[in-house]
């Protein structure tokens, strides 16, 4: 596999609903290399989530090319895509999206249920992941018994438990207070630096973006050339 983890060419996504017709992403050319930590910034509605969903194969492009980890995503059927996502992608949501009836370790174990691992191994992996995010003592807590920051750390553990190549996060600190946000960002940064994971993170927050090695800007569905941004943005091209 080449060093290029994400490669898109003229990637376009249009939403057609009844009367109206939205071009959420237009002709995006993106290249992300192994080990990159990329922040996607841009105003609301600029197409950040849309791009992230296309990379995660959670949605299909209207046109253009997209290769992720060497795989042409358009060539996979739904079943193959589900499996591909399970193996290669760890996705982190703004609103955590834990399953409320499952406790922390069961939530983290969930993606492993789709693997060939035995119950005991799954639990061990899940425990390791939770320990890694500093929740080794909260294994059996339910989401409602955790703070927002802890919930998001459980979600991070769930995203990394399958040891995916690519971690995608859609405003992971959007629902968190400053302290929790700092913890989450530090963790993503560690995953990137210590574990060599490629991370793409959507954020509104310049401070969050400062953790990334590259910051890319979207504007009305257009991916701006690197280093370029709309005037509103207090962009910092790279963290030192």
């Amino acid at each position: 596999m080449s060093d290029v983890v994400i490669e898109t060419r003229k990637l376009t996504k249009e939403f057609v609903r009844d009367e109206f017709h939205v071009i959420a992403l237009k002709d995006a050319d993106l290249e992300v290399r192994r080990g990159d930590f990329v922040a996607l910034m841009g105003p609301s509605g600029s197409g950040k989530s849309t791009l992230l969903h296309l990379i995660a194969a959670m949605d299909r492009p209207s046109s253009g090319e997209i290769r992720v980890l060497g795989q042409d995503l358009r060539a996979l059927n739904d079943r193959a895509i589900a499996h591909w996502r399970n193996v290669h992608i760890g996705f982190i949501f703004q609103s955590f999206n834990l399953i409320p009836v499952l406790n922390a370790i069961e939530n983290v174990e969930l993606p492993l249920k789709l693997t060939h691992l035995k119950a005991k191994e799954r639990m061990e992996h899940a425990e390791t992941a939770l320990t890694l995010v500093g929740l080794g003592d909260r294994l059996h807590h339910y989401p409602r018994q955790l703070s927002g920051g802890q919930e998001q750390r459980v979600a991070i553990a769930r995203a990394l438990v399958t040891d995916p190549d690519l971690i995608l996060a859609d405003e992971p600190t959007g629902n968190l207070d400053a302290g929790s946000a700092q913890e989450v960002l530090t963790m993503l940064s560690r995953l990137n630096k210590e574990f060599g994971k490629t991370v793409v993170m959507v954020t509104h927050d310049p401070h969050a973006a400062s953790f990334a090695a590259r910051v890319l800007h979207l504007e009305k569905g257009l991916l701006l050339p690197e280093g370029q941004s709309a005037e509103w943005s207090a962009s910092q091209p790279a963290a030192s």
Binding site: M58, R79, V101, L110, L114
Partner: protein, 389 residues
């Protein structure tokens, strides 16, 4: 599927109040369904066939019970290979006290005391009473339940006024037996009837039924066929059927009831199907967002359908189990409460019925959740995630 069991179980109890209501509604319907099925079975298939009953057959005239066979058939039947014993089994009818009072009705048969206990190997009676039954020509024996009902004691006099047979017979009660099926019946010596009829009565040497006992269960169909074959071309051809079948032919007239019971069973099943379809589709909708999360983690559409069906299955089986347990209790209550309808004494929630009812419960759960499950699994990830239920 099995590895998702904890998840399925936890999900099914997510909204506790609704789950309890769903389980309760399935339980109540299945209880009703279970009792109806047990009634259907008791009325139209009788109680469980005991091993002793399974080797017994009834031979009667091919045309019906009103036609008679020569008494000489008895010895011919006895020589059929596989036959262990055969005995005259003559319905006497008649009336006891005031026949207009239905409580005075019970079965009365003329039999051969020396063969009786070979045929009815499952009937128990003290040895001295057996001896008395053999010796005393006017002796009769009755089922313990019947004796209790009329307050009869050994030595009591019982008078039957004949109708088919133009005689009045006075018996002395010499034995009280117990039988597994607790049929209310009185048996007496056929010789007493023959004597009472007089030497020139045409009813003396004819029989309307023989009770045949095969050596073993496997022989039964063959023995029955051989007997009927033997008399096929005679003036009085026979029909030999298992005792069980014979008993059941008496409820054939309940044909309308049969349809009625089936219709109620169908209506109950259909109603609960609609109710649970409604409940389950609501609970699936509420969790559409979770479906999106699971798909993001890599769960396929099939896996999602499996989870939702599994959950519905758990609720249905829980409801079904409770309902069947209730039905079993109810059957017991009804069985001990009624005495008028002989067949309802066999009313019971047998393992076979319980499994059938459980199967119906599972079917209801799966069918009623299939459409919501398919709907949810086909919703795109982004649409499901956007759903805030």
């Amino acid at each position: 599927m099995l590895r998702n069991l904890t998840f399925i179980l936890k999900s099914s109890m997510r909204n506790r109040r609704r789950s309890v209501l769903t389980i309760t509604s399935i339980a109540v319907s299945l209880c009703l369904l279970g009792v109806l099925m047990a009634m259907y079975r008791a009325l139209f298939f009788g109680g469980p066939e005991t091993p002793a009953q399974a080797v017994r057959m009834i031979t009667h005239h091919k045309v019906g019970l009103a036609d008679v066979m020569p008494m000489s058939y008895e010895n011919k039947i006895r020589r059929v290979p596989g036959v262990k014993e055969v005995m005259l089994w003559q319905w006497f009818g008649g009336s006891y006290k005031d026949a207009r009072d239905r409580r005075n009705f019970f079965a009365r048969f003329a039999v051969e005391p020396d063969r009786f206990f070979t045929i009815y190997s499952d009937v128990a009676m003290p040895a001295d009473q057996k001896a008395a039954f053999l010796q005393e020509r006017t002796g009769c024996i009755v089922n313990a339940g019947l004796a209790r009902k009329f307050g009869w004691k050994l030595g009591d006099r019982i008078t039957l006024v004949g109708d088919i047979f133009p005689v009045t017979l006075e018996f002395k009660l010499v034995g009280i037996y117990t039988d597994p099926e607790n049929h209310e019946a009185l048996f007496f010596n056929k010789e007493y009837l023959r004597e009472s009829l007089g030497a020139d009565s045409p009813m003396r040497d004819v029989a309307s039924m023989f009770e045949v006992r095969a050596r073993n269960i496997a022989d039964v169909p063959r023995v029955a066929a051989s007997i009927d074959q033997m008399f096929d071309n005679s003036p009085a051809p026979t029909r030999t059927e298992s005792e069980r079948n014979f008993e059941l032919s008496f409820v054939a007239f309940l044909g309308n009831l049969k349809l009625f019971l089936l219709a109620i069973c169908g209506a109950v099943t259909f109603t609960i199907l609609l109710v649970s379809a409604n409940t389950l589709s609501m609970s699936v909708r509420e969790r559409l967002r979770e479906v999106g999360i699971l798909k993001t983690l890599g769960f396929t559409q099939d896996a999602i359908v499996g989870l939702i069906l599994g959950e519905a299955g758990v609720l249905a089986l829980a409801g079904g189990t409770v309902g069947i347990a209730l039905a079993a209790l109810l059957c017991g209550g009804i069985r001990n409460g009624v005495s008028g309808i002989q067949n309802l004494r066999a009313l019971a929630m047998t393992p076979g019925l319980a499994l059938t009812a459980l199967g119906i419960a599972l079917f209801i759960g799966l069918v009623s959740s299939l459409i919501p499950a398919l709907g949810a699994s086909r919703t795109t990830i982004l649409d499901s995630l956007r759903y805030s239920g």
